[in-house]
């Protein structure tokens, strides 16, 4: 049995186990896994823009926040059902990406990173300001709903979808072109690649996931306020997960999400600032010692194919 077949078989088994888990598992377990799926979707989406094109987005949580608020507002004010609201949340995030993508992506690396950071804060301030719509600083409550299990499945599907999308992109020439942007944007342009458009596509694709997932998270929590959905901590966590697992790889974000989320739940959640401190330390360590992340290093050392 070749390693690929083994791996695929393993995947099927895990997927099956996860699918039936809610029947046997605890409420806590379902919610924890739900969160894990969310992080996989977030990290995987961040990887699409930052890992593939090298345009590091420091404010990606803005899409999560916009998704959360869009869904929350549609659910509370307009009475929409949550699945529909979440889809629209994804579209809204995409719309935001389109709006800011064009001017932002023209900026060179560090400027882009910081502009995204700034945008995140601007959005947070705007959301606080338009109190009538968003409940301002006091937040927005959604009508209660015991929907953890359906959300669990939808989140799972999101996580799987983002990973699958990454796989499809990386194995295509579109993905290769995105990577040339990271490798040498000037040379890429000289070779006839419209880098501006490619960056924008990657950016849009990377916004949908957080948008939908933001909506789902809002529905699941039942309550959101500006600081809870635009926190820097979320961006930090997304970044650490992908850097650790391997940016630009398919399974890197998944690995990073699993390892860091599990560690976070088991060990660090007891000491609130310690785990953030450790995240900072991990970022430093990864940048200095293994900038390609775990899977990135393995990929190079053992000449693994890109689909890892």
């Amino acid at each position: 049995m070749s390693p690929t077949r083994l791996f695929q078989g393993g995947l099927v088994l895990i997927a099956a186990a996860l699918a039936v888990y809610p029947v046997f598992g605890t409420g806590y377990g379902v919610r924890a896994l739900l969160q894990l799926f969310m992080w996989i979707a977030l990290a995987g989406s961040w990887n699409l823009i930052s890992g593939l094109t090298g345009y590091v987005s420091f404010g990606h949580v803005a899409f999560f926040g916009i998704g959360a608020y869009t869904a929350a507002i549609l659910i509370t004010n307009a009475g929409w059902s949550w699945p529909l609201a979440c889809i629209v949340a994804g579209v809204a995030a995409c719309g935001l990406a389109l709006l800011i993508g064009y001017p932002c992506l023209r900026l060179k690396g560090p400027y882009f990173a910081i502009a995204m950071l700034g945008l995140n804060e601007v959005l947070r301030a705007l959301v606080s300001y338009f109190e009538g719509l968003t409940g301002g600083g006091s937040g927005l409550s959604l009508p209660t709903l015991q929907a953890s299990v359906p959300i669990y499945y939808v989140m799972g599907v999101c996580a799987a979808a983002v990973t699958a999308l990454t796989y499809v992109i990386i194995t295509s020439r579109f993905g290769l072109r995105l990577m040339t942007i990271r490798e040498d944007e000037v040379a890429a342009e000289a070779m006839g690649i419209d880098t501006a458009r490619h960056k924008l596509y990657a950016f849009l694709l990377s916004a949908v996931g957080p948008g939908i997932v933001g909506g789902l998270a809002a529905r699941d929590q039942g309550y959101i306020e500006p600081i809870s959905v635009f926190p820097l901590a979320t961006t930090i966590t997304m970044i650490v997960m992908v850097l650790f697992g391997g940016k630009g790889t398919v399974w890197g974000p998944v690995l990073g999400a699993v390892v860091l989320f599990v560690s976070q739940e088991i060990v660090w959640a007891r000491f609130p600032y310690v785990h953030q401190l450790l995240f900072g330390a991990i970022i430093v360590a990864v940048v200095l010692l293994m900038p390609r992340g775990v899977l990135g290093i393995l990929q190079i050392k053992y000449r693994l194919p890109r689909t890892v």
Binding site: Y111, L232, V274, L288
Partner: protein, 292 residues
């Protein structure tokens, strides 16, 4: 919103803007130096300021010493810390792509802020030393802000004199213009990097000390300062040291102007909106200068 603008208000805005602008300029100068000399964007700059503020707070609470006298101490302490950071971590990414140093300093900043939260808790601290304002005619100037302005102006001027007239200052300027040429001229570039980083941290610490008397002290206070310093540099032109002065003043003035018209919530966002706008319109800064 009915706001009648009187000349007195404009004057107040200008004065307040210049006062805070000078402080912004001093702190931003540190960031500009690191960027100019090492091509590193130091996201951990704000946390250095925060540490300076805490240093002042603890010295003040423990020994009751005049906070302004703690300036040399906080500056010296952060000078050392800055050099330590450079020697252990930052020097490794100076030649790497700029995003590596961005991510590295990002990681450092997270670590430092959370260390501070563990060590100092996130309780708000304050240095109640100089309260009240001077009132001259229709203008009111808070005493602590005025003193901060004076020190910031002196320190900033001193830095420029240092850069222009001393051998080390010239070496720093040479390195920021062209590292290779500086090396060929016999300048120990590694040492310049070390000193510059420490220097910048000291400037941030000075800002922290001065600010400690004005605002509440908490571990996350530095974040907005990193941002504003970056904004000042973008406004004044990256790699353009006098530009930091102009950028600082501009930021100070714009902020004060905005607070006339906007609610406090929105005026907080002014800095961010301004940064985003400037980046979109003129990525190389208003006064021009080197882009990355």
């Amino acid at each position: 919103m009915n706001v009648v603008i009187t000349p007195a208000m404009v004057g107040q805005v200008v004065i307040s803007g210049l006062l805070s602008g000078t402080l912004y300029a001093m702190v931003a100068l540190g960031l500009a130096l690191i960027f100019g000399v090492m091509r590193v964007i130091n996201i951990a700059h704000g946390p250095m300021l925060m540490l300076g503020a805490y240093a002042t707070f603890f010295l003040y609470s423990a020994f009751g010493v005049n906070p302004y006298l703690t300036l040399p101490v906080s500056m010296a302490a952060l000078f050392v810390i800055g050099m330590l950071l450079e020697r252990t971590l930052v020097f490794r990414v100076v030649d790497a792509p700029e995003l590596s140093s961005l991510l590295l300093t990002f990681g450092i900043s997270i670590a430092v802020v959370n260390l501070a939260q563990l060590a100092f808790t996130s309780d708000l601290r304050a240095v109640e030393f100089l309260t009240g304002s001077f009132v001259v005619g229709p203008f009111a100037v808070s005493k602590s802000r005025l003193v901060a302005f004076v020190f910031a102006a002196i320190i900033t001027a001193a830095v420029f004199v240092f850069l222009r007239n001393t051998k080390l200052g010239k070496a720093i300027r040479a390195t920021s213009q062209s590292r290779d040429v500086a090396m060929v001229c016999g300048i120990n570039v590694g040492r310049i990097h070390l000193i510059t980083f420490g220097f910048a941290a000291a400037l941030a610490a000075a800002g922290g000390t001065l600010i400690a008397v004005i605002v509440a002290i908490q571990p996350e206070m530095g974040q907005i300062w990193t941002f504003k310093s970056f904004l000042v540099i973008v406004l004044g032109g990256a790699g353009n040291y006098p530009g930091a002065l102009v950028g600082g003043m501009l930021l100070g003035l714009i902020e004060q102007l905005a607070s006339l018209f906007l609610t406090t919530q929105l005026s907080e966002a002014v800095a961010y909106v301004l940064l985003v706008l400037v980046l979109f319109v003129r990525p190389t800064g208003i006064l021009g200068g080197r882009s990355t």
